[in-house]
């Protein structure tokens, strides 16, 4: 029950803020590259800095265990992560928004974003039921 309520509350708060600020985690870099417009890029930077400061503070204040995987990342993992990130970034630019922004657009009445969200859900199913069993075979 905690999980349901917490995730719902977090979603509503983030959704509201993202709608009011037109926040997008892809738009920052794109707008800077195209127009040298920095407001969204500053938002991404502020997100990172706040998280970077808040993590150790929550650990001090009795938050969940902050254990990091020891040692450096194996090269294969790193390459998979970078490759997947590249595809994610590319797809986000083509779709005109990161996954968070697509939720906001969908809630504002943009029907194209409904298609995106349908694909998003379908992708989760395809990954879990088809790709993961193939990879772990």
């Amino acid at each position: 029950m905690t999980t349901v309520l917490a995730s719902l509350a977090v979603g509503i708060a983030v959704g509201y803020l993202a709608q009011r600020s037109r926040l997008c985690f892809m738009g920052g870099l794109r707008d800077w590259l195209l127009f040298r417009e920095t407001s969204l890029l500053a938002a991404v930077g502020a997100f990172f800095l706040t998280a970077w400061v808040a993590w150790p503070l929550t650990a001090l204040a009795g938050g969940a265990d902050r254990t990091l995987p020891s040692g450096s990342t194996p090269l294969a993992y790193a390459l998979w992560a970078a490759g997947a990130g590249l595809v994610l970034g590319f797809a986000s630019v083509l779709a005109n928004g990161c996954p968070l922004r697509q939720h906001v657009l969908a809630a504002q009445g943009e029907a194209d974003a409904w298609g995106y969200l349908a694909g998003f859900a379908a992708g989760a199913w395809v990954y879990q039921m088809v790709l993961l069993p193939l990879l772990l075979r």
Binding site: G11, L29, P69
Partner: protein, 139 residues
């Protein structure tokens, strides 16, 4: 109007996500907020994480309250469907959507740094590709 400045929103969202990961959704580390993973958990029935539903409610409320809700007819429904699917699969392989990747990078996970670098490169490549495409007048 009553807009929230993007950097204020980014900072607040980071705080909400970190607090949620530290005290409420603690099971895998850094799991308080993820657009992709939480949707996956809901779709496959792994965990009842309603983050995506909450996002829609919160954004809808914000849009309605400030008269910004407007239905826009679909023009690229199929291509957006494919892009959504691609983004989800890529997010799941990278272990997080754009938001959680940054959250993990700030947490100090070195794999996430590679993923964030990949995202930045992907954005840059697509942006320049689109600009080139537009300049040639092919669009």
């Amino acid at each position: 109007m009553n807009r929230v400045k993007p950097w204020v929103a980014g900072s607040t969202i980071a705080l909400v996500a970190v607090v949620a990961s530290a005290y409420f959704i603690t099971s895998p580390p850094v799991y308080g907020f993820c657009v992709a993973c939480h949707t996956r958990d809901l779709v496959t029935g792994t965990a009842p994480l309603f983050t995506g539903v909450g996002l829609l409610i919160g954004a809808f409320f914000g849009a309605r309250r400030h008269g910004e809700f407007r239905f826009r007819k679909p023009v690229r429904l199929l291509s957006r469907f494919v892009l959504g699917m691609t983004a989800m699969v890529a997010s799941l392989v990278a272990l997080g959507c754009t938001v959680r990747l940054l959250l993990r990078a700030a947490y100090g996970e070195s794999t996430a740094w590679w993923a964030v670098g990949g995202v930045a490169l992907g954005i840059a490549l697509a942006t320049y590709a689109l600009r080139l495409y537009a300049r040639r007048g092919l669009e």
